[in-house]
Symmetry: C2
Subunit: 255 residues, 2 copies
DNA sequence: ATTAGTTTGCTAACGGTGTTCACTCTAATA
DNA sequence: TATTAGAGTGAACACCGTTAGCAAACTAAT
């Protein structure tokens, strides 16, 4: 394939990658200007300076291009989130989880149109999904977008597992305080579908429930804020702080 | 205008209303079959048996048609919710609020595509909004869709206000238990933008915070379930029940 | 250096979309 | 009955995503 002695990408491959980047950049520009449904293949071709048909040498369809774009955006979100988490020490798991929330929020609100595209693609999607069997996670059972969204959720999930392991020896008393009574079936599914699947480690039901509840709340918060339908407009930071406090209380923590 | 002695709608008006209903029905059919973006003006015209241009006698544009459709869907959701609430006695405010949640969920999940259209329209929307100044609520500051979504939220909001009035005399002790510490600014805005604006009555901060928190949670739950990204798949009813219990605890209630 | 093969881009076309305009016909009004 | 407002048509415009066939350019191997 490549005739390089250095083994690096060939000239053609470099050119191709550059063109692909250019196409994606143009698509993102149109996303910013006209929203998700305003992304036009022909307009991209016009901007890149090429015939519409030529784009099919790089993407199978407009849909495929958008999916690729969404994956890139997830990578961007994940990178931003990870960077924010890494500003806290590796063992400060609580701070890192907080940082995850703030970074998730900041990126989504700061990139509303991108976020809009992400949660609305594909049509019959399972965006921002959280649950996945690790055995099937690498199979082709999930589309690329779902995989990315799970990768994003796992950033926080794994941190929770480590936090649990950290506090396990300290005789923390969780669970009895906060867990509402629920059927065994739900407890089973909660543990299996989240503790086992996402975090890769068994956690107490109270933790898993608190985690899934918090996930729903954060998802609601970020989505509503990005779409401008949050019940608060001026003191949003404070509102988030209060929400985080409320969620921590569900974990049995006061701070 | 109308030449009827009975004062009812004229023959033309009846015909027009019938055609409009037919158009909307066709649009909804396509929504069900092909999703929000699969609604085509030309396809509607084809189905109704008329030229595409003829539809412009009834709607200014496809966008206007869709907005009208969304408003109708909100009316349907509101009617279903109200009916479910009215199955409980008028003074059983807690049961009525629970019924609101269940009906909201049932309708949204039972009409996924419709729900999808509702929360994704218009593009830069404020769907499922909750806050509005009652002085400006009737002015043209809000689009029709936002007004409908507020009407839907008010169904629950008013019930909360009546519930508060009901329990006020009974010496219930709320607030101190659950309200996380927050700035005065946020407290101000919470009270003003929700208690005053939606419910039309001053409530304690703890109630308002618990209400907005619950609203975010319910919105997150319903949206995620409708989009298939809920962390639970098999015991969803139980999960909702546990969530409701958790929310009630935020109000300081155990049951 | 020439050949063979791959990659890239083009032109042209097909069928689809929302929207507008000028025109006809019909039904309700004065 | 004459007038007028409403509903519907047909043709056109400017887009859209996608496909097929063909020509040029580049790479790789003989």
């Amino acid at each position: 394939m490549t005739s390089n002695t250095a083994g690096g990408p060939s000239r053609r491959e470099r050119m191709r990658a550059e063109t692909i980047a250019e196409i994606k950049a143009s698509a993102r520009g149109q996303l910013l200007q006209h929203g998700p449904s305003g992304i036009s293949l022909r307009a991209i071709a016009r901007e890149v300076g090429v015939t519409p048909a030529a784009l099919y040498r790089y993407f199978d369809s407009l849909d495929a291009l958008l999916i690729q774009l969404v994956c890139d955006l997830y990578d961007e979100l994940i990178a931003a989130t990870r960077a924010a988490m890494d500003e806290a020490p590796p063992e400060a798991h609580l701070d890192r989880m907080k940082a995850w929330v703030w970074a998730f929020r900041a990126w989504s609100v700061g990139n509303r149109r991108e976020f809009e595209l992400m949660i609305s693609y594909p049509e019959g999607n399972s965006a921002m999904s959280i649950c996945a069997d690790p055995k099937t996670i690498d199979s082709l059972e999930f589309d690329a977008v779902t995989l990315k969204s799970m990768e994003h959720a796992q950033l926080c999930g794994r941190e929770l597992a480590q936090f649990y392991r950290q506090t396990e020896g300290e005789g923390f008393e969780f669970g009895s305080v906060t867990l509402p009574e629920m059927s065994d079936g739900l407890q089973q599914e909660l543990i299996e579908s989240c503790s086992l699947m996402i975090i890769g480690e068994r956690l107490p039901v109270s933790w898993v429930f608190a985690f899934t509840s918090a996930w729903v709340r954060v998802f609601g918060l970020v989505t509503m804020e990005a779409f401008g339908s949050l019940p608060v407009q001026n003191n949003i930071d404070e509102f988030y702080k209060a929400q985080i406090k409320s969620m921590l209380r569900d974990f049995g923590m006061e701070q």
